[in-house]
């Protein structure tokens, strides 16, 4: 089953800290959002394997935008 990790704040993508194929644990940081120049970590709510990275640095984000797809 697929599950996306979504933006929890609006802003810009600061970075994605995982790569396709990486094993991710529940609660692990997968990406960082730059909201008004403050870095906000985005943690995975599930354990799984990174299937797809949907965003890159500087991409604009709204709350709920998918950033990373996990196979769980």
């Amino acid at each position: 089953m697929e599950k996306s990790v979504n933006a929890i704040m609006p802003g810009l993508t600061a970075r994605v800290v995982v790569n396709v194929g990486d094993r991710v644990e529940k609660g692990q940081e997968v990406a960082v959002i730059n909201c008004m120049k403050t870095e906000i970590p985005v943690n995975s709510e599930e354990a799984g394997v990174v299937k797809q990275v949907l965003v890159k640095e500087w991409d604009e984000l709204q709350v709920g935008d998918p950033m990373v797809i996990l196979e769980i």
Partner: protein, 461 residues
Amino acid sequence: MLQPLNDGSGVMIKKVLIANRGEIVGRIIRTCKRRGVASVVVYSEADRDAGYLEEADEAVLIGPANPLKSYLNIEKLVEVALQTGADAVHPGYGFLSERGAFAEAVVHAGLVWIGPAPELLRIISSKCTCRQMADQVGVPVVPGTLKPVAGVGDVVEFGRAHGFPLFLKLDKGGGGKGIARITRARDIEKIYRQACSIGSAAFGSDACYIEHVVPRPRHIEVQFVADRFGHCVCLGERECSIQRRNQKIIEEAPSLIVTPADREKLFDWTRRLVLRMGYHGAGTIEGLRSEEGDYYFMEINARLQVEHPVTEFLTGIDLVACQLDIAEGKPLAFSQQDVSLRGHAIEARVYAEDPDTYIPSPGTIHALYLPEDNTQLRIDHALRANAVVPPYYDPLLAKVITWADGRDAAVDKLIEALEAIRIEGVKTTIPTCLKTLRNTLFRTGDFDTSFLDNGVTPGVH
């Protein structure tokens, strides 16, 4: 088209492109209007609501919210300046204001750059180079390395010889980014690697240097203006010790802790360093004062500073007008003897942030009330009711500045103004500012840069 001004031959700026966003745009437009200079503003798709778009003579959409494609897009900004017939570019603060490559592109396009020379901006973008220059002219720098360290071994060696804690700082860092505190030897390797990777990603350089931790430091800075004829005039100091996350939130002048003799010494250091650099324009020398009363040079900010209104209230001098005069190749219209520092001025920065956690709070402003400016109150902002505060840029919403004969009266006026402000729809740091301004230790001048980190409890410590 104008030729780049290197000889101070003098031209008249008639139309300025303002390469920035937010409150500083309206600030620059005001001086332009007073001088009969036309203004061109640029905006991204996220800033369509900005109040200043109507105040400017022209407003040009330059791209999407992503700052790389709008406010940091050098090619686009120069293109718009040429298309609109602007003859000068004012970079404001932040964004491209201290970027040598932008200044160079502006000058190459035949436009006047309102700021220090592009070559100088490139040189002083290295904090180590600035530290070396200060050292050469006898201005004390925060103890540490004058050159970037060659590798992790140097940091280990320094820690062994001088002890901990120490700061590892990026040679090209800024905005409070890339400052790491090392408290023990076994953390060095990890912290060093992290700093290098932040430096490479954010500033294009992984060079780091070391500074000792100054105990209970106070942030003291000197505002100066320098022309192309070797005149440098100091416009007083500002104390900016009240900070959150290494970023200022309350600034005032004069500082309670700076004595007249200290002030003379700081002015002398400033003049020596500015003349050594061959700097022209407005700028700020940032320094630290230790608990023992020693002052150290920290860095130079080669632009208009966010907190410049404090100095404008104190001196009655329009700093943006000074910048335009200097860019036009004119000598300064005043000397050090003409400058009088009158009364007390204080500024509170209103950020769109949770007042307790400092987590950003973008959103839509549903209701807005700001008191009117008067001779002792000034509010610089770009706010409007029903406007969106976008999540993509700096959280600064407004600067509230008051002036009075003495500090207590100025602080009281600031409290009164902040209490009167209504901003609904986003959280703001107004409660943080009010708590600070009412705090007994703040009122008596007993504080340092860790004030807000220690938690503000009015009257109790």
